[in-house]
Amino acid sequence: MKKLKIFALLFLCLLVLANGISVEAAEEERYGGTLIFPLAYGSPGYLDPAEVTRVEGEIITSNIFDRLVRIDPETLTPVPLIAESWDVSDDGLEYTFYLHEGIKFHDGSELTASDVKFSFERVMNPDESLNTDLLHNVEGAREFRDGESDYISGIEVINDYEIKLTLESLDVDFLLTVARRGSEIVPEEAVTELGDDFSDYLIGSGPFKFVSWIEGAAAELEAFDDYFRGRPYLDRLIFRDMEEAAARVPSFLAEEIDFDIVFPAQFEIYAEDPVHGDNMVIVPELWTRHVHFNLEVEKLQDKRVRQAFNYAVDKELIIDRLVDGMAFPATGWLPESSPGFNPDLVGYDYDPEKAASLMEEAGYSPDNPLELEIFGTTSPHFGVPIIEAMTPFLEEVGFDITPVQMEGATISDYRMVGDFEAYIQSHGGEISPVEYLRKHFWSGLSRSEGRWSMYENPEFDEYIELAMRTIDEEERLEYVHRAEEIIVEDAPVFFYNYSQAVGVFQPWVHGIVENPLELSLQPFENIWVDDSSPRK
């Protein structure tokens, strides 16, 4: 039975991958109504876009603020948003963006190129922002960030609707940068005027206006009538903070929420329901769940130990039992939905004997185990419960595991300063395979910019830098594969699984898109509810 289910899922996923289909709407779009969407991953904390570093916040802010370009969830390529078009110079270093004219912010002021410049300087200013790695490749941005200059030389306002960014070095994926978290355009005038109070008003130019956010309860947004791409269908959009998966089910069944992010333990409840079973979406997401090792900890500097960890754990069994088959065992760092996925990569199979012998070579055995503390959240899929499930496998080959349970934000604090041995987490949401690898393993980054393991390998750096500068798609992919192979061999992480997101929507909801970046990042401006909704 279980096998059958997995096959069915795989089949569905293949379908999804092949077509990138969105759920078709046969009826006529309808204006009005309220959509209630759960925040399944917990509270977002900060909502000022410069301070949003995790997807929890982006789920809300991406509806209030717009970026220069956006990622089309179906093709995973950049498409126009605030910038209606752009030019790239022949050397690939100069990007000129032509802004859509007449875009209004929620306070009625007009969005111009100086707002763009202001927003970009704001995001690179460590006093205002937690996303200061964003424009690292723009000329003068690092000097600005480090306080060595008071402007970014690579940003030039040509006129009200034209802005030019100059890069330090070639970066083929640069357009994705201005579609990424942190690159939202904020109104210069309002931000300057409001100062720290800006986070209470959150004035953007996106399809929805911010109404309120109550910590632990809900964020409320309403339609922005003057949105430059046309008013969204929904009148109101509410994000309800509902972290407990078991508690979301009765709410969904009672029609109190219009969507649910389905966790494995609840999958069958929906799948076996005659109505809801047909309204489910399953998306292989661009996220990699893994255990990150801190390579500054001496005992973890031995590659054999890290490889042994990878060989020791039967991840397929864990996925089957704890994640209900809703994930693919990871062979490397780039998930199957990534354009950089390498199907030929073997990775680490479950091989306890090999693990034990590697541990023995490194000087450990079950009688003389390597003590390892692993941080994790309460997440049943990539938190302490998973560590507990891995523990018997690991102890058999010579580890002594202590799980430490803490909040995601707390784990961030520790890894920011390197005060950890290992942690289990999920990273991702990045389309560019080059950037996804660079962001965590390139030695040019500081720890707080994302190189949590402090991994360092010049060979890897070389391939990444080559990939960044190579325009030819095939050659570029080759470098990516090489770089990933090095990462897999060096094993600065335990490659656990590539996640699949499952969602279920009420029959009256139309326009849900299978976004592999993150299922909760829906194009809410295109979503509408028909009149069978209790909140029409």
Binding site: G45, V249, P250, L253, D413, Y414, V417
Partner: protein
């Protein structure tokens, strides 16, 4: 109690590991003005407190005052709801048990009350959720929903069961005591109808000790919202405090504890005053 309030850097980490790490500490200190000497911080904190300013939460960027105002309504709603129905139910149960002393009703209500006191509230809550929301699908399982009262029924019952149990016991004991008193016997011997004796004399005189217990338990009720809100995912003060502890958001933790403490003190004071009013024999110097 106040000495737990001022935001010391050692407290802000919420666990000792971070407190040992100079880098986390420096970063936190600088961000929240904790690099000033402790007596100045203490003074600032107290001055702000007197002005009603509880500071700014580390994790949400909101003021703690605002967090508290936003999270206050669900908490106060379930506390009031469960207080009203638990007192009514608990007192009636205890009264019936005492008047029908030794009957099956008496024994039954006493068994219920010892269970009610012994069972952990989160377990009661989960069991109620399992039967009424998951199995029978009669009531919503969690959250505030559209704000209708049906969402508050299970949380309020969970919150109230131990209070019902305790009040039933107390009422029974004090009614039994009062029944032995001379004036009740006198009333009876004067030939007043049994009904009058029961309701007028016994009940009124037993009321004093019942009110004291009920009043003091109101404080416990408020504290238990921490558990109940967590079980039923209600966005109230109790959940705020637990989340803030997990996130090491010390200003928020301190703020909520301060508000809770203030609440308990006000409740206790009111009970004392009410007590003095009801029983003129007691004087307060």
């Amino acid at each position: 109690m106040l000495n737990i309030l001022p935001g010391d850097a050692a407290l802000l980490a919420g666990d000792p590991r971070a407190a040992q790490n100079p880098e986390i500490m420096d970063a936190m200190r600088a961000r929240w003005g904790l690099d000033q000497p402790i007596h100045i911080r203490y003074a600032t904190y107290i001055t702000n407190l007197i002005r009603g300013d509880l500071g700014i939460s580390y994790r949400t960027g909101n003021t703690v005052n605002r967090l508290i105002v936003l999270n206050f309504p669900p908490t106060i709603r379930i506390v009031i709801l469960s207080f009203i129905f638990s007192t009514i139910l608990g007192i009636s149960l205890g009264f019936i048990a005492a008047v029908k002393h030794g009957s099956a009703a008496d024994i039954g209500s006493m068994i219920f009350s010892i269970f009610g006191i012994s069972a952990p509230r989160f377990w009661i809550g989960l069991m109620l959720m399992y039967y009424f929301a998951v199995n029978l699908r009669l009531l919503p399982a969690s959250g505030l929903g559209d704000g209708s009262i049906s969402y508050l029924i299970l949380p309020s019952v969970t919150l109230g069961i131990p209070l019902i149990a305790l009040l039933a016991r107390t009422t029974r004991a004090s009614v039994l005591d009062v029944m032995k008193e001379d004036y009740v016997r006198t009333a009876r011997s004067k030939g007043l109808s049994e009904r009058t004796v029961k309701f007028k004399h016994i009940f009124r005189n037993a009321l004093i000790s019942i009110i004291t217990i009920a009043g003091l338990q109101l404080g416990t009720l408020l504290a238990t919202t921490v558990i109940v809100e967590e079980v039923f995912s209600l966005p109230g003060l109790g959940r705020l405090i637990i989340r803030s502890i997990h996130r090491r958001d010390i200003p928020a933790v301190q703020g909520v504890i301060f508000v809770f403490a203030l609440g308990f003190i006000i409740i206790n004071l009111s009970v004392d005053l009410l007590y003095a009013y009801l029983d003129p024999q007691i004087k307060y110097d």
